[in-house]
């Protein structure tokens, strides 16, 4: 028991420790940004420190929290729907080649229509409401999830399935104990991608549909030519994405993928 807790703490520690590398990458970006600021001046590109401060000031006001949370809420609505829809149809397609053949052309069309067209359509259908944003997010994010789930299910190890059948496992138990484990490996990268595009598309749709949220704040910053505020809002959107990805998605994934760490050659392990 204590061993399990220690193991978990150790993994958590390594997770945070690996954050230093990420921080180094971010510092590099900040340095380039600072150079751009010094070359072009405050009006084109405010300094990173100033932007950070502007973002901090934004967060100090509760009404700004509501704006950011509105965007996150809409993005998560769309993302949850896209994840459920994409996973379910992807699994069906991965397990049944006939479904796959029907789904392929639909997917091509879905991916082929530009997101902007979906926003226009959704605005006509739902007006300036949450529904417009969520619909656009679903359309943008579901195909990615679908492909991940279908790919995972189609490339599952059939010899393991046979092994389970020999020992008398039902189809449901095989799906639970083998199919989903395999699908997860393909699904998590797809979900991370879908989460990123959910937030991006939500902001874009808000801006175009004029429904408030971070997109709305960006629109008014543009109207006022307030580049500092625009950058600060972008920073907040990115921050929200990072928090969702590293706070929710990665820990779940780490639980699922612990064995991969064991499979790595020693020396790279830590």
């Amino acid at each position: 028991m204590t061993e399990a807790i220690l193991d978990r703490l150790g993994r958590l520690g390594r997770f945070f420790w690996s954050g230093w590398a990420g921080l180094a990458g971010l510092s590099l970006l900040a340095a380039l940004w600072q150079a751009g600021h010094e070359a072009y001046g405050d009006f084109i590109l405010p300094a990173p420190a100033a932007t950070l401060r502007a973002a901090w000031d934004l967060l100090a006001e509760p009404k700004h929290w509501d704006i950011a949370l509105a965007t996150i809420r809409r993005a998560m609505q769309g993302f949850a729907l896209a994840a459920a829809l994409g996973t379910a149809t992807g699994l069906a397609a991965g397990y049944s080649p006939a479904t796959m053949r029907i789904a392929r052309p639909l997917l091509t069309i879905l991916i082929g229509v530009p997101p902007i067209a979906w926003i226009v359509l959704a605005m006509i259908w739902f007006g300036s409401t949450d529904g417009t944003i969520a619909t656009t997010v679903v359309v943008a994010a579901a195909p990615v999830v679908f492909v991940g789930a279908a790919e995972g299910a189609a490339t599952r190890d059939r010899s393991l399935d046979d092994m389970a059948r020999v020992f008398g496992a039902s189809a449901l138990f095989r799906l639970r104990s083998i199919g989903l484990r395999h699908v997860a490996a393909h699904l998590f990268p797809a979900l991370a991608l879908a989460l990123g595009s959910a937030i991006k598309v939500a902001v874009m749709a808000e801006l175009l549909a004029n429904t408030g949220g971070i997109g709305g704040a960006l629109a008014s910053a543009r109207a006022n030519l307030d580049i500092a505020a625009a950058l600060a809002w972008v920073l907040l959107a990115v921050g929200a994405l990072i928090m969702l990805e590293y706070g929710v998605l990665h820990p779940i994934r780490a639980e699922f993928e612990r064995w991969r760490e064991a499979a790595r050659p020693w020396g790279v392990k830590r």
């Binding site: 393991l160 389970a164 020999v166 020992f167 008398g168 138990f173």
Partner: protein
């Protein structure tokens, strides 16, 4: 009643016939060794008998309660520790977690799998250790019929003997019957009551040889003589002999 009966079983993959006219019966508590040259359809026959593959022709009658199998490859779940791989069949049939853990540990001990390795993932185990996990997994549910598809090929000589003794011992204690595929005539002679030789050209079973005495009671001298006789004087085993020579070359 027989533990397993195959009647006129035949199978074709994409129109290419691999097995034809197989008649084979395994009595309760009997171990039948199945030998034949590489690629003659031994694995296919075992998969048909276990119900993994639907045969194109013929019938399979299973008179046993439950079976287990050791595949030609270990087929372990890469994301599960050795302990959980061994316990996998128990998750299907239902004992509680603590009980599963105890049974898995007991099964690991029977196949000489060290307890401190139970918390390793398959990627951290050697080939022979993986195969022992697969053997423990087949034994853990206490089946009354076992399919072995060349289970000991990845093991060294000493361990191979130990595993053979284990199978003989377990078969006698638990009274399970088994269909045991092997390339190795000495192994077949040690372990089985009867040897079935599969025809190289896919024309059914070429013949049977009953072995004197009971498995585990044949001494080294007798085993040596049996194998010598099979390899040099018995026409039934000519093709096996060919395969062995090709393997050495």
């Amino acid at each position: 009643m027989n533990a397993l009966t195959l009647r006129a079983v035949g199978h074709a993959f994409f129109g290419r016939t691999v097995l034809d006219g197989i008649d084979l019966a395994v009595a309760t508590g009997e171990i039948v060794a199945l030998v034949g040259p590489s690629g003659c359809g031994k694995s296919t026959l075992v998969h048909i008998a276990a119900g993994l593959v639907e045969p194109s022709r013929g019938q399979v009658a299973r008179g046993y309660r439950q079976h287990g199998m050791v595949f030609q490859e270990p087929r372990l779940l890469p994301w599960a520790k050795a302990r959980d791989n061994i316990a996998y069949p128990l998750r299907i049939s239902g004992p509680r977690r603590a009980e599963r853990r105890r049974l898995a540990e007991a099964a690991a001990e029977r196949v000489a799998f060290a307890a401190e390795d139970l918390d390793k993932y398959p990627a951290e185990l050697s080939g022979g250790m993986r195969q022992r996990v697969a053997i423990a997994r087949a034994l853990v549910g206490e089946p009354d019929f076992l399919y072995f598809d060349e289970p000991f090929t990845a093991l060294d000589v000493a361990l191979k003997r130990r595993m053979q003794d284990l199978v003989i011992e377990a078969a006698r204690k638990a009274r399970f019957a088994a269909l045991f595929v092997t390339h190795d005539l000495a192994e077949a002679a040690r372990i089985a009551h009867r040897i079935a030789v599969l025809d190289a050209g896919g024309r059914g079973i070429a013949g049977f040889r009953a072995l004197p005495g009971a498995p585990g009671e044949r001494d080294a001298r007798l085993l040596f003589d049996l194998v010598q006789h099979f390899e040099h004087a018995d026409a039934l085993f000519r093709h096996i002999h060919d395969v062995d020579e090709r393997r050495i070359a």
